[in-house]
């Protein structure tokens, strides 16, 4: 039953290739079907009598963890496809290509989340990335889009080469690429000279840290997020980041758990740098997409705070954070898509002046997304931050929890700056603001924003179902079969 998730996406790819109408609708239906498949698989793996299982010669693990990420990624695909629909028509790029690439890259993300073998992690990562390189450069005529594609490509393949080197070293040290076997090997043998293994850890962390945009591997993020077509940015910030974290959490928290004394300090430094750099650099930006890019870096820092705790609670907090974050970030970039106008021409802060008067509902939605990202109570963002920081305190990483709270305050300033621009800068008879063009809100994008908005608010009010979901979604290591 769990394999249904995988088969559904694979089938979607095959049938996605021939041209057909309503590509966006098709993509959304595919994503929803995959979501239903995951829900069925969820029933299967949480059933205590049967539990998680591995498939395809132990290469794939179907457990609560992979199903959770399956749902996060399919949600991201569905919402981003709804945003892309009108965007592509506006840019005169309508066609199946972007949707096929989006599904392909989503499949890569799912494979990464389900991987139980370093080979499969690498295959998933490359499927995800190669499709994304093309998506980033999808606006063939726009120079920024091409620039973001080449930057993403060069740095992306560079970092996956590091990841590969790390995998090779881990393989050399442990004699296997399978997670269960590696964990068994590490439990049975005390490595006298573990330099090879530790170097492998470091390189793996570089490769995966790049994918989730952790500082100091973040330099590509602002440029790529700014240059890529905005719906692609939304997908990149949600699905690709979630897949990267899926692999990172599974590799370090479950497979290399025994070596947590070795990797926790590194994770600590990464989390602090990511939080601080992300939130402080966001403050000095003038381009809204760039601001959101830096804020997404600081969000990655929060998830790393949960990972650093290296406990079940920290992991559940990180998972909850990723789910809540997916809705917030797709919503935010969705609004940026609509305000940006033809050719992604204007994402500067002044373009948002007086949005509350021109488009009150859109401004309200954006405000909710921004407040949720800032972590204001009654939104999902508050609870997400609360859980990861709570886990950090529980793991006695007090300094880290403190830094996380300070950087949350700093990044709140960024979000308030955008909100103030939307609500307060227009006086009566302000010609400059009145001259700004009317922002059209197409129904598909409105639906996408509406879903994200409802989720953000409802989870903020009634969090318990989602919290339980995240708590049950811990990765499982099933010992390798004969």
């Amino acid at each position: 039953m769990g394999g249904a998730l995988f088969l559904l996406t694979a089938a979607a790819l095959a049938s996605g290739r021939p041209p057909r109408g309503f590509y966006a609708l098709f993509t959304v239906i595919t994503a929803v079907l995959a979501m239903v498949g995951s829900a069925l698989a969820w029933g299967r793996v949480t059933d205590p009598a049967r539990g998680a299982y591995s498939a395809i010669g132990d290469a794939i693990m179907v457990d609560g963890f992979s199903v959770f990420f399956g749902i996060v990624i399919t949600v991201a695909i569905a919402l981003a496809a709804l945003l892309a629909d009108d965007y592509l028509r506006r840019e005169g790029l309508d066609g199946p290509e972007l949707y096929v690439l989006m599904l392909l890259s989503g499949t890569g993300g799912l494979v990464m989340a389900m991987a139980n073998d370093l080979i499969v992690v690498f295959l998933g990562l490359e499927t995800l990335s190669i499709a994304l390189y093309v998506m980033a450069g999808f606006q063939l005529r726009r120079l920024e889009s091409q620039e973001s594609a080449i930057k993403y490509f060069v740095l992306g393949s560079f970092s996956s080469a590091f990841l590969l080197y790390g995998i090779a070293l881990v393989y050399g040290a442990t004699g296997s690429t399978n997670f269960s076997r590696i964990a068994d090997f590490l439990a049975d043998n005390l490595l006298a000279a573990n330099g090879l293994l530790l170097a492998g850890f470091a390189l793996l962390l570089v490769g995966l840290g790049f994918k989730v945009a952790a500082v100091p591997f973040h330099v590509w993020t602002p440029d790529v997020y700014q240059g890529a077509p905005t719906p692609v940015t939304a997908f990149l910030a949600s699905a690709s980041k979630a897949a990267g974290f899926a692999a990172l959490l599974r590799v370090f928290l479950s497979t290399f758990d025994l070596y947590r004394l070795d990797w926790r300090p590194i994770m600590w430094v990464l989390a602090v740098l990511t939080l601080v750099v992300g939130s402080f650099l966001a403050v000095v930006q003038t381009d809204v997409k760039r601001m959101l890019a830096y804020s997404s870096i600081s969000h990655a820092g929060f998830v790393l705070v949960g990972a650093e705790a290296a406990s079940d609670r920290g992991l559940a907090g990180a998972l909850f954070y990723l789910l809540a974050y997916t809705f917030m970030v797709v919503g935010s970039f969705g609004v940026a898509t609509l305000v940006g106008r033809r050719g992604d021409a204007d994402h500067s802060l002044p373009a948002y002046r007086g949005l509350s008067q021109r488009r009150p509902l859109l401004a309200l939605a954006f405000t909710v997304f921004l407040l949720a990202q800032a972590g204001v109570p009654l939104t999902s963002g508050f609870l997400a931050k609360f859980y990861v920081i709570g886990a950090a305190v529980e793991a006695e990483s007090y300094a880290l929890a403190l830094i996380a709270m300070i950087s949350a305050v700093v990044s709140a300033f960024v979000y308030l700056r955008i909100t103030v621009a939307m609500y307060m800068t227009v006086e009566e008879g302000d010609d400059a603001a009145a001259a700004l063009p009317f922002v059209r809100v197409p129904p598909a994008a409105a639906l996408s924003l509406g879903i994200a908005l409802v989720f953000t608010v409802v989870v903020g009010l009634v969090p318990s179902p989602v919290v339980d979901f995240a708590r049950d979604a811990l990765p499982v290591l099933v010992s390798a079969g004969p």
Binding site: I119, I150, Y165, S176
Partner: protein, 102 residues
């Protein structure tokens, strides 16, 4: 087995590749440097596999094959992007691709 020599070769190739990516400005040469790193990984995988005993060695060799396949796909996409840049700007110098900063 002279595994150390192979590992050393892999490490040297890796370093040359990293140097190439960081120092070269020509887009095509950067791509070639990335290929060098991937090949260094392949040498490592097969060399490290050879000390593991026959069963575990298969994993490394199969992985090396996967890496070769993916490297081909990656270079295809990479060259296409470089070509796109060349058409629009008549240059493949990556240092000149700098519209966005900050």
């Amino acid at each position: 087995m002279l595994v150390n020599q192979f590992l050393l070769l892999g490490a040297v190739l890796f370093c040359i590749g990293v140097y190439g990516v960081l120092a070269r400005r020509n887009g095509v040469l950067v791509l070639m440097s990335i290929e060098l790193i991937l090949n260094a990984v392949n040498i490592n995988l097969v060399a490290l596999g050879s000390v593991q005993g026959p069963e575990a060695a298969v994993a490394g060799q199969v992985f090396a094959l996967f890496v070769v396949t993916i490297a081909a796909a990656e270079v295809g996409v990479g060259l296409a992007i470089v070509l796109l840049i060349y058409r629009n700007r008549s240059t493949v110098d990556l240092d000149e691709v700098d519209l966005m900063k900050g």
